[in-house]
């Protein structure tokens, strides 16, 4: 192969959606060499999206979170090393060093290290009662606390904060969300969609403090008791969820001399400058066809698993440039949000459907270029949006606004 010899031994760092999928896809392709999957959590690889939804809500147990049963890894000769942290990459020797001192040689290394919670440097952040919602252990702790919670404060009105708020309100817990900017999900949706979601959450009793910072978290006896806001207000709290986003786990790569810039820098085949190392998923910054080849780093299951398939295919000698359409979803109580494409930099929004009723799509344009489509309780639009955008097709703002325009026909039509 072009990438420095035959690949007989693939080591994957990170056993989340991306890492797991690399291993599974390699075997699906008939890869016969060794596959080592290293994860720092003590569990079998599991699905993360339900953590902030059905799992937190107590509707499903861990058995339904597992990607595959333990037997799957044996049957497919995937050497799963759970509860193991990787300390360093030795590029000249093509090996990784584990935290416990063990060394593992690789022909190809896949970094699927994901991301970690962004932790604000707030006084009181270490207090008992400050929670996060990213991995299973955090969700377990949060779930336990939520059961006895009297006042929950959420810092950050993104997907995670809002998904948590919907579940907490469902359990009758008072929720106050503190958000630095003036609307919910400001980083990912258009103002119209922010307004709709903000209003719906308010209807269920969620209170918002927009344009507000947190000054400090106050406690008594080591436990959270209040949150002090930048505007001087003091809110009582026995649970504070920090949901202000994540930062990529790029330290391993950086320490090994690989380029990092908001993620491990990779090319359109998801390769680093070292042809023996790929990076995928939340930790990878890659040039996307859907962002005019500007580097993007996406935090999404779709992104992680499609990246994984691209790398696995390359490792078995069938390389292709990564071009998959990004898509995202969030479920917040009865609200269902699906996004197709990357809408960053939109200048114009065209609403289609019944906005007041909450069954609509927002078509986001830059000039005449359709960047992406947000569908709210409108799964049909989302299905068609994905088809349309994946095929590189577009519809005009006028067509999008016209209720008689047949979106399905446009999406299903042959390319061209």
């Amino acid at each position: 192969m072009a990438q420095g010899g035959v690949v007989r031994r693939v080591v994957i760092v990170g056993a989340g959606h991306g890492g797991f999928q690399v291993a599974a896809s390699l075997r699906q392709h008939g890869f016969d060499g060794a596959v080592v999957l290293i994860g720092d959590e003590p569990h079998l690889p599991y699905q993360r999206p339900p953590l902030s939804k059905d799992y937190l809500d107590g509707k499903i147990g861990f058995d339904l979170l597992q990607m595959r049963p333990a037997s799957f890894f044996d049957e497919h000769r995937i050497e799963l090393m759970s509860g193991q942290a990787v300390a360093a990459i030795d590029r000249p020797e093509k090996a990784v060093a584990l935290a416990d001192g063990k060394r593992l040689a690789y022909d190809h290394l896949v970094l699927a290290t994901g991301a970690r919670n962004r932790v604000p440097p707030l006084p009181g952040i270490e207090l008992d009662g400050v929670c996060y919602l990213r991995d299973l252990a955090e969700t377990e702790a949060l779930k336990e606390r939520l059961a006895a919670c009297r006042n929950a404060i959420v810092v950050g009105a993104g997907f995670i904060g809002l998904e948590f708020a919907a579940i907490a309100r469902g359990k009758g817990v008072p929720v106050q969300i503190v958000e630095l900017v003036d609307r919910v999900m400001a980083r990912v949706v258009c103002p119209e969609t922010s307004a709709y979601f903000g209003r719906e959450h308010q209807k269920t009793g969620v209170e918002f403090s927009f344009g507000t910072s947190v000054e400090r978290i106050a406690g008594a006896g080591g436990k959270v008791s209040h949150v002090v806001l930048g505007d001087g207000r003091t809110l009582p709290a026995d649970l504070v969820l920090i949901s202000i986003g994540v930062v990529p786990n790029e330290d391993l790569a950086a320490a090994a001399g690989l380029a990092v810039a908001n993620g491990v820098v990779v090319d359109e085949q998801l390769l680093t400058a070292d042809l023996g190392i790929s990076a995928i998923g939340d930790c990878a910054s890659f040039p996307s066809r859907h962002s005019l080849r500007n580097p993007v780093r996406l935090e999404a299951v779709q992104n992680a698993t499609d990246h994984a398939r691209c790398v696995a295919s390359r490792l078995v000698g069938k390389p292709y440039a990564y071009e998959a359409l990004p898509w995202f979803w969030s479920e917040q109580g009865a609200l269902r949000l699906q996004i197709a494409g990357l809408t960053t930099g939109f200048q114009q929004v065209v609403l289609r459907g019944d906005y007041e009723k909450g069954e609509y799509s927002a078509f986001c344009y830059a000039g005449d270029k359709l960047l992406g489509i947000e569908s709210i309780n409108k799964p049909a639009d989302h299905a068609f949006a994905r088809r349309l955008l994946a095929a590189g097709k577009s519809i005009t703002p006028t067509e999008a606004a016209d209720p008689s325009f047949d979106l399905r026909a446009a999406a299903m039509a042959r390319p061209g």
Binding site: Q66, S71, P379, A383
Partner: protein, 107 residues
């Protein structure tokens, strides 16, 4: 306990116990069956748990909702009249003995 038979694209049959209230998708991933990907974990968001229900058993399955109908237009393998998303096939007593065939590809 009700059983469901999964037929792979190349004709291999696997019969699994599927508890009432569990989806045909959940049982498959829980047993590590190849052929059902279920990327979104069963939220009817991704269309990678596509199955073909044996024709004479379609009426035994829960009725299709709009969301599933739409997502089925985006499956990787061709949609047929007996296409369903297995995450939406939640087991009921009537579905005992269900046979589903998995498509050639889910992604």
């Amino acid at each position: 306990m009700p059983q469901v038979t999964y037929v792979s694209h190349d004709g291999q049959r696997t019969t699994l116990d599927v508890p009432l209230g569990t989806s045909v998708m959940q049982a498959a991933t829980l047993h590590g069956l190849d052929g059902i990907v279920a990327e979104c974990g069963g939220s009817c968001m991704c269309a990678t748990c596509h199955v073909y229900v044996q024709e004479d058993q379609i009426a035994k399955c829960p009725e299709m909702e709009l969301g599933e109908d739409a997502m089925l237009d985006g499956t990787a393998s061709p949609r047929k009249p007996n296409s369903r998303l297995s995450c939406q096939l939640v087991m009921t007593p009537e579905m005992e003995g269900l046979v589903v065939t998995m498509p050639e590809t889910q992604t």
